[in-house]
């Protein structure tokens, strides 16, 4: 006769996660996540992924920690900024402290430098970027390789999450207009001491960052668990000052080159 032991559940790291009936923990554990950006959103996304049971993560970033990152980046410390450590390496190191079982690999460089053949090897891509050009790059490669892409963006107390599931949903490019292309290469960063030209600094706070990242990861878990009924259908806009979340519909742009490929 099988006997249970009092307190047994408290020794199982994933016992509470497994109580979420719809969550496919095995799928989460076996999936490969590509996180693009190890800044404010990237810190939160990696934290949430690791605490949600993700074991295979690739993290891409080319920057170093500066002191003004410390108001919103959970994994960065004073010593990291003093030593100007690479963000990706710091995040990976601290993520392993959260869960020693996580296999987190770092790519120190630009997302544009990732080999073309690497995109299709991931189950999911989470975008934690700061500029339109890099987003378009990720959008193109994920759509072409039919990899789900969950993009997050913040500005002060405003946030946005877009879930792109090729080939069924509109892609990121479908929602762009001239105002995006005017700032194509502008990095909406909020820090940086190696400035060689004027770059506008953007207001950023952890409350907005944490919420946007949490939604990104929750949507990723839903996609992997087959909860297509409850995934953000297009774009979620958040206004932290007015306490509003709005899920807005976006139609596919018939002139978008990615969908013209669909049509053959």
């Amino acid at each position: 006769m099988t006997a249970i032991r009092a307190g047994e559940g408290d020794e199982d790291r994933w016992e509470r996660s497994r109580r979420i009936k719809w969550l496919d923990m095995e799928k989460v554990r076996s999936s490969s996540f590509l996180v693009v950006g190890a800044g404010a959103l990237g810190n939160e996304v990696v934290k949430d992924l690791v605490l949600s049971g993700a074991r295979n993560i690739t993290l891409v970033d080319m920057d170093r920690v500066v002191r003004s990152n410390l108001n919103r980046c959970v994994f960065f410390r004073e010593d990291d900024s003093a030593a100007r450590r690479l963000k990706a390496e710091v995040v990976a190191e601290r993520a392993r402290e959260l869960d020693p079982d996580v296999d987190i690999r770092t790519v120190v460089g630009r997302v544009e430098d990732l080999p073309e053949g690497s995109w299709g090897k991931h189950s999911m891509v989470l975008g934690c970027l700061d500029n339109v050009a890099a987003r378009l790059h990720v959008n193109s490669f994920t759509y072409f390789n039919m990899v789900p892409y969950i993009d997050g963006g913040t500005s002060g107390h405003a946030g946005r999450v877009q879930v792109i599931l090729p080939p069924s949903t509109p892609c990121l490019q479908c929602g762009l207009n001239r105002s995006h292309y005017r700032i194509l290469e502008q990095r909406n960063s909020c820090t940086g001491t190696e400035m060689t030209y004027f770059q506008p600094k953007m207001a950023a706070d952890i409350t907005t960052t944490a919420m946007v990242a949490a939604v990104q990861v929750r949507e990723a878990l839903k996609v992997l668990s087959g909860r297509s009924d409850s995934i953000i259908s297009n774009v979620l806009h958040f206004n932290g000052l007015h306490n509003t979340w709005e899920e807005l519909e976006l139609s596919r742009d018939p002139l978008c080159p990615l969908h013209r490929v669909d049509l053959g």
């Binding site: 950006g37 800044g39 404010a40 959103l41 990237g42 970033d61 080319m62 920057d63 170093r64 500066v66 003004s68 990152n69 919103r72 980046c73 963000k87 934690c128 970027l129 700061d130 500029n131 339109v132 997050g152 963006g153 500005s155 405003a158 946030g159 946005r160 479908c174 929602g175 762009l176 207009n177 001239r178 105002s179 995006h180 005017r182 700032i183 502008q186 990095r187 909406n188 960063s189 909020c190 820090t191 940086g192 001491t193 190696e194 060689t196 030209y197 770059q199 506008p200 950023a204 297009n234 774009v235 806009h237 206004n239 709005e246 807005l248 519909e249 976006l250 139609s251 742009d253 002139l255």
Partner: protein
């Protein structure tokens, strides 16, 4: 035949009436409203009800009608925190 819509600034809640022709584009509405409120350079989108309107659509294609209320929303592109390339 020109007609009027109301454009709301999602950040401030203020509104402005805008006169449109059927061949105007959504991008022109964005630029007109962003210019009126002297918005910083950045990405913006326009919503009509629950729909985000694509920039290249004309007023006619987007189904915008007399007395409609549109909203100008910032489209956040931040999330990172490093120095430029």
């Amino acid at each position: 035949m020109p007609f009027r819509v109301k454009v709301r600034n999602a950040e401030s809640g203020s509104t402005v009436d805008m006169e449109l022709e059927q061949e105007n584009t959504v991008e022109e509405i964005i630029e007109g409203a962003a210019g009126y409120w002297e918005k910083d350079a950045g990405a913006y989108v326009i919503r009509r009800g629950k729909k985000l309107l694509r920039g290249q659509q004309t007023v006619s294609e987007a189904g915008i009608q007399n007395n409609d209320e549109l909203e100008l929303i910032p489209d956040p592109e931040g999330g990172f925190s490093g120095p430029p390339y």
